[in-house]
Symmetry: C2
């Protein structure tokens, strides 16, 4: 189900809310992660290459549900990642709608909405689920 906006033509790109992340500082992570695994009846899958994230079973439409270890003393939170096949174009689009860039990394960006809520813009994480569900921005 895609949704094509009006535009001047040129390159198109796509995006969608692709990841829901439950973030806890390391000293609270283990008890919280055990809880969310039991709450969903889902195994936890460690990412062998990354000590920061564990995954739970995906939400409908292949939306990832991730558990993130954050720095000690940081408050627990949920944040959203917008996945896209063109990070530059998506950051530019969202900036036009009032978001600001907080941190620009080589592969992704940390942004804030106009109310100060943090979210990230990341490369495609969900493969064919992204293809099926992303919105096309023309």
């Amino acid at each position: 189900m895609s949704w094509v906006t009006g535009g001047q033509g040129g390159c198109m790109h796509r995006s969608r809310i692709g990841v829901v992340l439950i973030d806890h500082p390391r000293d609270r992570f283990e008890s919280a992660a055990r809880f969310w695994s039991a709450a969903r009846g889902s195994e936890r899958h460690a990412d062998g290459n990354d000590p920061v994230y564990d995954s739970l079973d995906r939400l409908p439409g292949g939306v990832l549900l991730e558990l993130q270890r954050t720095g000690e003393g940081t408050p627990p939170r949920v944040h959203l990642d917008i996945e896209t096949d063109d990070v530059e174009a998506e950051v530019e689009r969202l900036t036009r709608h009032g978001a600001i860039v907080v941190e620009r990394h080589s592969a992704y960006a940390v942004m804030q909405d106009p109310g100060g809520l943090v979210f990230c813009v990341v490369p495609v994480q969900t493969g064919s689920d992204f293809d099926e569900h992303a919105t096309i921005w023309a």
Copy 2:
């Protein structure tokens, strides 16, 4: 796709993550709500009966994406609602896994996970999408 746990028999109930809520205080709500509507390319739907929530188009699997007006001065946040056909049984189940009840209302409960993250347990919000995607707890 349901997942049946072992148990001693007796009453079953069901639950799932049914709502993703983007919460902003009233003085920041309008700009943030306009942003998320544009970010998703989704109309905002006011709930005629409730001045607190606006809805955006649903996520895959009928998961609701809601914009909530919170009290002035409260920090922006995302929180999750677990929807269930038996709030009492679900609160009891989640308490057994380490969550605590923060506020008990007649129809729903505000809880915290073992890391202090707030979430809610609410009656079924998504109808047939709940039936299709909820987990069965036996």
